[in-house]
C-alpha cells in the first residue's frame, strides 16, 4: 500500500515536473531563488504566451470604451522615438476626438514576438507597426487589421504617399496600413576617407567591388563590417547578390511556386558569400555578433572597416552617434547602391528593402479607428516630415526629395527614385516558416558549415511544404 502510494506520488510529481517544461518552464531547478526578477519575467514571455494562447477567441479586447488608444512600435530611442512623440503632441493639441495616445515602444527583435503573443491572448493593441509582407498579411487574415480605403479618402492621404509605399501597405487590393518613417533600402555605406587613402573608387560592378576589398585587405582594413547573429543582416548580402544576378523574377517565381530557390541566381549568391568569407572580407567572428548591440557599427565607427552593407535607416544613427561623440565621422560617410554583376543583364537599379520601414495597422473600429487614423496622419504632417528629414530619415511621402539636403540621404533618395522596382526583404515577404529556413540556412552558409546548394534546397523544401499546405 505504502509502496503504491509512493509510486503514484512519484508519477504525479514527475508529471508535474516535466510539465513545467512544456507550458510553464519557470525552472524547478532554480527554486531557491525564485523566478520573480523582472528580467526573467520579461524573457519568459514564451511561457505566458503558452498559457495565454488558451484564451480561445481572440476578441478585440481593447475596444473597452475608454478613450485611450494604445500604440505599439519599435521607436525606443533617437529620432524614431522623437518622431512618434512629436506626432502624439500634435494630435493631443489639435484633435477634437477626445482620445489620447498611449505610446508603448519595444526593442526591435523582442517586438515581433511580443506582438504575436499579445494577439494570441486577445490583447492586441489598437495600433501597431509591422514591416508589412508575410507577417502583416497573417495578422490581416486573422482579423487584426481594418481596411482603410475610406479613411484614406476622408483624410486625403492617398496622394500623400509614394506609390511603392502604398503598394506595400496593401493586401488583396485593399489598404490595411499607413506607411511611416523611413524609406529603408539595402545599400553600402562607405568611409570616404578610407577609400581615398587606399585609392579606391566607388565600385559599379562586383568585380570592382572585389578588387576594392582586396586592396583594403592588403592595407589591413576589414572590407565589410557585419554582425550576423540576428541572421537578417547576412540575408541582405544574399538578397542583393541574387537580385543583381537574376533580377526580381527568380525570387517572385520561386515565392509563387512557379520557380525554385535552387535557381542559378540563388546558387550564385550563396557561392559568392562563401567566396568572400573565405577571402576574409568580413570581421572575424561576425556570425555570432549582435547587430542590436552595435557590434557591426563599432568596426565602422572605429574606421577598422571600410564598408557596411545595411538598411538605409542607419543614416540617422550614424549622424546622431557622430554628433554625440563630437567627432566629424559623419562627414566621411557616403552611400552607394549594390554594384551590378558583371556578366548579368539584370536591371541594376532594382533595390532591396521597404518603402516605409514601418507600417501602422489598426485593430479598432468606428470612432476609435477614425481617431487612431487621424493620429497617424500627424506622422506625415509637414512639421513631422521636416523633423524627420532633419534627422536624416526619409519618409515615403511625395516630394520629399526637395526637402533633403543631407548628402547621404540624397544619394539614397536618388537611388530610390531611379529604382525600377523594390524587392521587399525576403524575411518579410516570405511565409515565416520559409523565411526562417532561409535565415538559418544562410547563417550556416556564412559559417561555411552548409553548402549554398543545400541551403537553397532546404529553403525550397520549406516553400514547397508551405505551398502544399495552403
Amino acid at each position: 500500500m505504502k509502496n503504491r502510494m509512493k509510486k503514484i506520488t512519484a508519477l504525479g510529481l514527475s508529471a508535474l515536473m516535466c510539465f513545467s517544461a512544456t507550458a510553464c518552464g519557470d525552472g524547478v531547478q532554480e527554486t531557491p531563488q525564485g523566478g520573480d526578477e523582472p528580467a526573467e519575467a520579461s524573457a519568459d514571455n514564451a511561457d505566458s504566451g503558452a498559457e495565454a494562447a488558451d484564451a480561445d477567441t481572440a476578441d478585440t479586447g481593447s475596444d473597452s470604451g475608454d478613450k485611450v488608444i494604445t500604440f505599439w512600435n519599435v521607436g525606443t530611442e533617437g529620432a524614431d522615438k522623437e518622431t512618434y512623440e512629436m506626432a502624439i503632441r500634435q494630435f493631443q493639441e489639435s484633435s477634437q476626438s477626445g482620445y489620447t495616445i498611449e505610446n508603448i515602444p519595444t526593442q526591435n527583435d523582442k517586438y515581433k514576438e511580443k506582438l504575436v503573443i499579445a494577439m494570441s491572448s486577445g490583447e492586441c493593441p489598437d495600433m501597431y507597426t509591422t514591416w508589412s509582407g508575410g507577417p502583416m498579411n497573417e495578422y490581416i487574415d486573422s482579423g487584426y487589421a481594418q481596411p482603410l480605403d475610406d479613411l484614406y479618402e476622408k483624410y486625403g492621404m492617398k496622394e500623400r504617399f509614394m506609390e511603392g509605399a502604398l503598394e506595400q501597405a496593401s493586401y488583396n487590393g485593399q489598404l490595411y496600413a499607413i506607411p511611416v518613417k523611413n524609406i529603408s533600402i539595402a545599400g553600402i555605406y562607405y568611409n570616404k576617407a578610407l577609400f581615398e587613402q587606399c585609392g579606391v573608387n566607388v565600385p559599379t560592378t562586383v568585380s570592382e567591388l572585389e578588387a576594392a576589398c582586396d586592396t583594403f585587405l592588403s592595407n589591413g582594413i576589414i572590407p565589410f563590417t557585419l554582425a550576423n547573429g540576428p541572421k537578417w543582416t547576412g540575408s541582405m548580402y544574399f538578397q542583393c547578390l541574387a537580385a543583381r544576378k537574376g533580377g526580381l523574377e527568380p525570387f517572385q517565381k520561386a515565392a509563387a511556386g512557379d520557380g525554385t530557390f535552387e535557381d542559378e541566381s540563388f546558387v550564385y549568391a550563396g557561392e559568392k558569400i562563401q567566396e568572400w568569407v573565405n577571402k576574409g572580407y568580413f570581421p572575424e567572428g561576425f556570425n555570432s555578433m549582435s547587430e542590436d548591440d552595435g557590434q557591426a557599427k563599432a568596426f565602422f565607427y572605429t574606421e577598422e572597416a571600410a564598408m557596411y552593407l545595411t538598411g538605409s535607416w542607419n543614416t540617422a544613427a550614424f549622424k546622431t552617434d557622430s554628433e554625440d561623440a563630437g567627432n566629424d565621422f559623419y562627414s566621411k560617410v557616403d552611400w552607394f547602391s549594390f554594384p551590378a554583376v558583371d556578366d548579368s543583364t539584370a536591371d541594376a537599379s532594382i533595390l532591396c528593402g521597404t518603402m516605409g520601414d514601418q507600417f501602422i495597422s489598426f485593430n479598432c473600429t468606428d470612432e476609435k479607428l477614425d481617431a487612431a487614423f487621424e493620429f497617424a496622419t500627424y506622422l506625415s504632417s509637414e512639421e513631422t516630415i521636416d523633423y524627420m528629414v532633419s534627422a536624416s530619415l526619409i519618409p515615403p511621402v511625395t516630394g520629399v526629395e526637395e526637402k533633403i539636403t543631407d548628402p547621404v540621404s540624397k544619394s539614397i533618395i536618388d537611388a530610390a527614385n531611379k529604382a525600377s522596382a523594390v524587392q521587399l526583404w525576403y524575411d518579410q515577404y516570405l511565409n515565416p516558416t520559409v523565411a526562417n529556413a532561409h535565415l538559418d540556412g544562410n547563417q550556416e552558409v556564412f559559417g561555411l558549415t552548409m553548402t549554398p546548394a543545400d541551403a537553397n534546397k532546404k529553403m525550397q523544401e520549406a516553400q514547397a511544404e508551405y505551398l502544399s499546405g495552403k
Partner: protein, 300 residues
C-alpha cells in the same frame, strides 16, 4: 457515553476535512488553471492547424503528430537536449559535490568560498546570458582578448557550429553548479556528526571517510539531484534563447526553443503544441524509466 465520543469524533473529523478542503482548494485551482488545463489544451491544440492568433482553426487529426515523428529538426533538437542532459549530470553534480565536500571539510574557513561560489545562482538566466555573450564576444570578448595576447586571432565560440553547444553547456554548468553545491551541502547535514567522528576514531583518513562512508550516505540525494538535472536539461530554454537563439543555423536548437519558434515566430501554434505535447511525453517517459532504474531494486 461511547455514542457521544463517536459523534464528537465524527464532528472533529468533519471539521478537519473542511479545513483540508479550504486549504487545498486554492492550490488545486491554481494547478488546474496553470498546469492541468494547459496540458490537456496543448494536446487538443496539437490536433489543429492554427496560426495562434486567428479565431478559426482547422481540425487536422493526427497529421501534426505524424509530421513530428518524421521531423529531423525535432529529433536533432532532442539529441541536443540529451547531450546537454548527459553533460550537465557529468559536469555539474561532481563539481557541486566537490565544492560542498571542500566546504564541509574546511568548515568556517571556507565561508568566503561558500559565498563566492554561490553568486551565479543569484543571477537571472537572462542576465547570465547577456553577461556571457559579452564575455565570449568574438570581437573584444575575454577569450578573444586572451588569444590576441598570445598572438592568435579572434575566437568565435558561439558563432561556430562545432563549439556553440559545448560553450552553452559550460555556461549552463556555471549557472547551476552552485545549486548542486547547496544541494550536497544540505545532504551533508543529514550525515550525522557521530559517523564522522566514529570513522576518524577508527582511523579512517578524510579520503576514506569520503569515498567509503559519506558518498554512500549521500547517494540517495545525488540520485534525486541527477533526476532534477535531467528534467531541467530536457526542458531547457532560457540561456539558449538569450545566447544563441538556437543558432548558428540550428546547431543549438533545443526542443523548447524549437517549440517556441514554431508556435510564436512561424505562426504554427498547432504544430508548436504538438512539439510541446511530444516533449511532455518524452520527458515523462524518460523520467519514469530513470526513476525505475535508480529506485528499482528498492521498490520491488
Amino acid at each position: 457515553m461511547s455514542n457521544q465520543t463517536n459523534t464528537l469524533g465524527k464532528r472533529r473529523q468533519r471539521s478537519t476535512n473542511l479545513a483540508a478542503l479550504v486549504f487545498l482548494l486554492p492550490v488545486f485551482l491554481i494547478l488546474t488553471a496553470f498546469i492541468f488545463y494547459p496540458i490537456v489544451d496543448s494536446f487538443t491544440i496539437s490536433t489543429y492547424k492554427w496560426n495562434g492568433i486567428a479565431a478559426d482553426k482547422t481540425f487536422v487529426g493526427l497529421s501534426n503528430w505524424s509530421k513530428l515523428l518524421g521531423d529531423r529538426e525535432f529529433w536533432f533538437a532532442f539529441r541536443n537536449n540529451i547531450v546537454i542532459m548527459v553533460m550537465s549530470i557529468i559536469i555539474q553534480i561532481p563539481i557541486g559535490l566537490a565544492e560542498a565536500t571542500f566546504i564541509e571539510f574546511a568548515g568556517r574557513k571556507a565561508t568566503v568560498c561558500k559565498v563566492l561560489w554561490f553568486i551565479p545562482m543569484l543571477m537571472s538566466s537572462v542576465a547570465i546570458g547577456f553577461l556571457f555573450n559579452y564575455a565570449l564576444a568574438a570581437n573584444g570578448g575575454m577569450i578573444s582578448a586572451v588569444s590576441k595576447l598570445f598572438g592568435g586571432g579572434n575566437i568565435d565560440l558561439l558563432g561556430n557550429k562545432s563549439t556553440a553547444l559545448m560553450t552553452v553547456i559550460f555556461v549552463i554548468a556555471w549557472q547551476f553548479i552552485p545549486f548542486y553545491m547547496v544541494y550536497c551541502m544540505a545532504a551533508y547535514t543529514n550525515v550525522s556528526e557521530d559517523v564522522y567522528e566514529a570513522s576518524l576514531i577508527d582511523g579512517a583518513t578524510k579520503g576514506q571517510y569520503f569515498w567509503q562512508i559519506a558518498l554512500p550516505l549521500l547517494t540517495p540525494s545525488i540520485k534525486s539531484a541527477a533526476i532534477l538535472s535531467m528534467v531541467g536539461s530536457l526542458k531547457y530554454f532560457d540561456l539558449i534563447y538569450v545566447m544563441t537563439g538556437g543558432g548558428p543555423g540550428t546547431a543549438t536548437e533545443l526542443m523548447a526553443t524549437y517549440m517556441y519558434k514554431n508556435a510564436f515566430v512561424q505562426f504554427n501554434m498547432g504544430y508548436g503544441s504538438a512539439v510541446a505535447a511530444g516533449m511532455f511525453i518524452l520527458i515523462t517517459v524518460l523520467s519514469l524509466v530513470t526513476m525505475r532504474m535508480i529506485n528499482g531494486k528498492k521498490e520491488v
